[in-house]
């Protein structure tokens, strides 16, 4: 209990509500393909993606034009893309300020030419919008907010909506209160960066503001941009409120945080069972398990052993570290004078990938045995080396390593259990 502070419940009301939308772009891709059959085709394979768009926006001009007009102007006849219908936005809300984050790869083009092309296409496509690009020699993270504020103010005077376009800048310390729609127009990315981007619509403005985060997806079944945040929230909620079952915690999260899938007759809220099914299908839970595994608690020798799948070295290293009371990575000085941690980034990455691999394949263990994973391991142990070798082959990770990591709770059991909920 704190000595000097009390809870002020009125502070809770200052939090801006947020709604998450999954929008399926398949129909505008099809339209683009009708006009241009080789759109989004590479080496004969049709696989639409934002990175392909970013690599050659002029080639995908038809797609991008149709997409912008369908989403922001309701043109083209696909109501599942009409954002005002999906979000139940009415004209009385007045001027709209939207922000769209494009793939970071668009910046790799020479002199950011591809981003300039995208801005040009947007200007041509959306006549009722002022397009405000966040890039260029005169724009920096330090002055982006002020420059965009001025542009928004100017658009207000001329009665135009605003679409802010960014490929990475302005994702932190950038507060434009009027932003109510935030579009994620990239395939995948770092979870932290995605949360930073989504947060651009959470700055308080008028009373009752709702921030709408719209993931523009070529395949919603693989789109996991919201998952890590939801699962992490459920974990925190379970831990802080003494809830036994992570699925119940996730159910509570989804009662207060709305995720919608966009459909022709309006957005439909995704309920817990459907959400879980989708999260499992797109392997989001496995990735979260990898993300939160306490790899940083290991010594360099442990990380190395984990990365190489060598359980004996891993065990020995853990025992050795425990005996010495050392359980963390060190910052060390190299001979050259440079400094870095005593485990390489590559090894840390490999170690996390090892955890994800085990999580993805854990059903092989679970369904071999009885009702619990512990019982399953006991049965496999009793059955001898042939089944263990089989597990090793299927996982690509030694059976003993799998067992060690699961039974010592190094791999988060709550999340593993959620896979079988």
């Amino acid at each position: 209990m704190l000595k000097h502070f009390k809870v002020d419940v009125s502070r809770h009301q200052l939090v801006v509500d947020v709604e998450f939308y999954q929008m399926n772009l398949a129909s505008v891709v099809e339209i683009a393909r009708t006009a241009e059959p080789d759109a989004f085709v590479t080496d004969g394979v049709f696989l639409p993606s934002w990175s392909k768009f970013a690599a050659n926006p002029v080639k995908a001009k038809g797609f991008f034009t149709n997409m912008l007009q369908a989403v922001l102007e309701g043109k083209g006849g696909d109501d599942s893309l009409n954002v005002d219908l999906q979000t139940r936005r009415s004209a009385k809300e007045g001027m709209k300020v939207a922000m769209m984050f494009l793939p970071g790869s668009v910046l790799r083009s020479e002199k950011q030419d591809n981003l300039k092309e995208i801005v040009y296409i947007a200007e041509q496509a959306l006549k009722g919008f002022s397009i405000v690009p966040v890039y260029g020699e005169e724009m920096s993270n330090a002055n982006a907010e002020q420059k965009v504020k001025e542009a928004v103010e100017l658009a207000e005077k001329t009665g135009q909506h605003v679409l802010i376009l960014s490929a990475g800048m302005a994702q932190r310390s950038f507060s434009i209160p009027q932003i109510t729609e935030l579009y994620l127009a990239y395939d995948t990315g770092d979870n932290g960066a995605t949360i930073q981007k989504m947060s651009r619509t959470l700055t308080p403005h008028k009373v009752g503001k709702v921030g709408r985060v719209i993931s523009l997806s070529f395949d919603p079944n693989r789109d996991d941009k919201f998952d890590a945040m939801m699962i992490e929230t459920a974990q925190n909620y379970k831990k802080n409120h003494g809830i036994k079952d992570l699925k119940q915690a996730l159910r509570d999260v989804l009662r207060t945080v709305d995720i919608f899938k966009c459909q022709a007759d309006g957005a439909v809220k995704i309920e817990i069972d459907e959400y879980l099914e989708q999260a499992l299908a797109r392997k989001s839970i496995d990735r979260v398990i990898g993300k939160i595994a306490p790899v940083n608690e290991l010594t360099a020798a442990e990380v190395s052993a984990l990365a190489s799948g060598n359980v004996d070295v891993f065990r020995a290293a853990r025992k050795d570290a425990a005996a010495r009371g050392k359980t963390r990575l060190n910052v060390v000085k190299k001979k050259s004078g440079a400094t870095k941690t005593d485990a390489s980034e590559k090894e840390l990455k490999l170690a996390r990938e090892m955890i994800v691999t085990i999580s993805q394949n854990i059903d092989i263990i679970k369904f071999y045995g009885d009702s619990t994973i512990e019982e399953a391991f006991a049965l496999i142990d009793a059955d001898g080396p042939s089944i263990q070798d089989d597990v090793t082959e299927q996982f690509g990770v030694p059976y003993t390593m799998v067992k060690e990591l699961v039974l010592t709770n190094f791999i988060n059991r709550d999340l593993l259990d959620l896979k079988f909920a």
Partner: protein, 321 residues
């Protein structure tokens, strides 16, 4: 009883000027709402622009009843605002209520003036999430944990929360280190606004004579809070040596810990300088794992934005649990 309040606001599109005025709040009225009404009324025929012009969350109010009574201005239109503005300065023109400085700096100066006059400041209240997170970290410190990652989402209210930690731990010297220098303005504003932070002495390690201010504060039994830029150069190492050489317990708050300062060359001077008993809080909005990558972290706390929404809409959970 009727009360005298002062309020401060600025236009969203003009951060270099602000307006400081007074409001006679009648008994029974909510002072904040009444001050917001006054600001809205001041927009005359364009009250509809209020929401576009002013962020209500940024408006600062002060109960200056005691001061108004002491200086004989406790009456409607008593012009206590003019009395205060004479001490603050930066008035635009000779008669207006507009000041030519940012609202953050103006709030800081008003707070410092009121503190010198021994006037009560506003009590800081915490959201449930802030309160619980503070309890969590204090419990960890009590258990002997010394390096803590606090991954706190956007709109959590990290600066006030940090102030609560400083107050509750009673750290004699707090070092707020950051690579993102704009964050210091938020700290300066919030840590000068509230009653609980009255005894904090805020020192910018970029100012002249800052070492004297730190030592005077410590010797005077006050809590020194020092803002330290982690950008390389600028005698950074000398400053670190001076701060960590102080013979007192220290609380180190690394703000935006996943940005710049997560790199070895930025963090290593702090890692090497910290004492065994110094508490380090690596505070970040996202990427807590990145922030933690080179520190010997022994406690991890995270609060996500949906958790803030769950607190706001707790009523949706009550009937079904």
């Amino acid at each position: 009883m009727d009360k005298m309040y002062c309020y401060l606001w600025h236009e969203k599109t003009d951060v270099n000027e602000c307006k400081f005025g007074e409001r006679w709040v009648k008994s029974g009225l909510d002072p904040r709402k009444d001050c917001l009404k006054r600001i809205r009324d001041s927009m005359a025929v364009r009250k509809d622009k209020f929401g576009d012009t002013v962020d209500p969350a940024e408006v600062v109010i002060w109960d200056v009843t005691e001061l108004a009574q002491e200086v004989g201005r406790f009456k409607m239109h008593g012009r206590i605002d003019d009395y205060i503005r004479e001490f603050v300065g930066f008035r635009k023109g000779t008669t207006g209520e507009v000041h030519s400085l940012s609202a953050v700096d103006m709030a800081f100066k008003v707070n410092e003036f009121l503190k010198k006059q021994n006037q009560p400041l506003v009590e800081a209240g915490l959201s449930q999430n802030q309160y619980s997170a503070a309890e969590n970290v204090l419990a960890a410190i009590a258990e002997g944990k010394r390096t803590i990652v606090a991954e706190l989402c956007a709109r959590f209210g990290k600066t006030i929360w940090s102030g609560a930690l400083v107050k509750e731990t009673n750290a004699q010297l707090t070092i707020v280190a950051s690579y993102v220098l704009t964050s210091f303005a938020s700290f300066k504003k919030d840590l000068s606004t509230f009653e609980q932070f009255r005894d904090f002495v805020l020192v910018d390690a970029g100012d002249e004579d800052w070492e004297d201010h730190v030592q005077n504060a410590i010797e005077g039994g006050l809590q020194a809070v020092v803002f330290l830029s982690m950008c390389a150069g600028g005698r950074r190492q000398d400053k670190i040596d001076f701060l960590f050489g102080q013979p007192v317990t220290k609380l180190v708050i690394v703000d935006e810990a996943d940005f710049g300062v997560h790199q070895v060359k930025q963090s290593q001077p702090l890692i090497e300088a910290r004492g065994e008993n110094d508490v380090v809080v690596l505070m970040t909005g996202t990427n807590g794992d990145k922030a933690a990558s080179i520190w010997p972290v022994d406690h991890y706390l995270s609060v996500t934005y949906p958790e803030l929404l769950m607190e706001k809409h707790a009523d949706r959970l009550v009937d079904q649990n």
